[in-house]
Amino acid sequence: MTRGTVARRGAATLLKRGAIGLAVVAGLMTPAIGAAEDASGIDTAHLPGPAKWQDLPDWSGVWRETRNTIFDHATVQPPGASSGTPGAREFPPLTEKWEKVYAHNRELVSKGQFPDPITMCGVPAGFPRVFNLPDVYEFVVRPEESWLLSENGPNVMRIYTDGRDDPAKEDRWLTYTGDSVGYWDGDTLVFSTVAVKNEGTILDRTGLTLSDEMTSVTRMRKIADDLIEAELIITDPIALTEPWHVTVQFERLPDGARVYDYACAENNRNPVTDSGHTITLGPDGKPLDGSSGE
């Protein structure tokens, strides 16, 4: 039996009976969203277990996002905007409540008072922002576990594919990167992410955020020799009215590219003031923006 067969069979068993099915994407089975036990939609209690080494795809090398660090390029306005574009925003299916949150954040952005948490060199980028970072990435795949490693941060995201379930709900606590378990569906890494601490993190600098109720299903595969695509299906009963599909692509750098240390606190001359302004320090360590940064 090939691993693909195993994966397909495994995937078939993963679809919850009676769950709300989503569209089949490119002929690949998409886990159902809205399943009873796990809001991510994958029946994490019945994962198929590790793939075989010989069936794993080759994701070696150094990769970077193909576009700038706007999280949802499909809905950003103005089209092609970057995070620094005045007035830039995306249009996820936000609830009325979260539209107000986003509006408030964008108001802070316009005042220069919406600091990027990673500027403070303290916390991880978090999920799903970990899929939306500058600099470069490595994707390390093994049968039982895969890792997303970002140079920026650095951040480490672990995806267990050894058949384990998420921790029981009573045993979970929220972490910035959450808990991810999944399986290999042929050449596609499919995983759910739960228990994400979104408070204090952002998706990008337009002011876009999600709530701590967010969960996600990610399908990640190589769509060309030098191109990996990740499709995230994000659910969030607080922030979103329906599942939000976001696609991110990574291009492979030429052979020989290296990944380096990123010690954020080494010489951070752009601290954030109490008022939320990101300032610049001169060579003497004194703010060039004025003492308050206002």
Partner: protein, 133 residues
């Protein structure tokens, strides 16, 4: 300290050179770690001076450049660049800006006129250049 920029027709002499407002340029590429609100990405100014120090550090590199202002005073500019990892993959090295080197550098200046900017491009005495020049 706020600097008064002196417009010059040539940029070969030491000092603050041509100020060019309103350039339509690509988004600031080096502000990966923080917002660039303090800097005016619509403006580019050209500096010419002597490298004091190249801080090859995370999360950003910094070129400390001595520039003689219109009053003849030596002003130390802080020019922010990308991370060492990003720059090294683009061919930069810790030795790219050696102390004592005369160099012309274009920056997106701080909005408040302080002596700092975000790196846009540089030209060395041998005519070679980096970034957008």
């Amino acid at each position: 300290m706020k600097l008064a920029f002196r417009l010059r027709r040539t940029g070969l002499a030491a000092g603050v050179a041509v100020a060019m407002a309103g350039w339509a340029l690509a988004p600031v590429p080096v502000a990966a770690h923080h917002s660039a609100n303090s800097f005016d990405s619509t403006k580019v100014i050209e500096l010419e001076g002597t490298v004091k120090e190249f801080q090859w550090t995370n999360p950003h590199t910094w070129i400390q450049l001595y520039v003689v202002d219109e009053n003849g005073a030596n002003v130390e500019w802080s020019i922010e660049g990308g991370s060492p990892g990003t720059l090294s993959r683009a061919g930069w090295r810790p030795s790219t800006f050696k102390s004592g080197t005369m160099v012309r550098i274009k920056v997106h200046p701080m909005k408040n006129g302080e002596a700092a900017g975000i790196f846009v491009g540089a030209q060395f005495p041998d005519g070679s250049s980096l970034g957008r020049w």
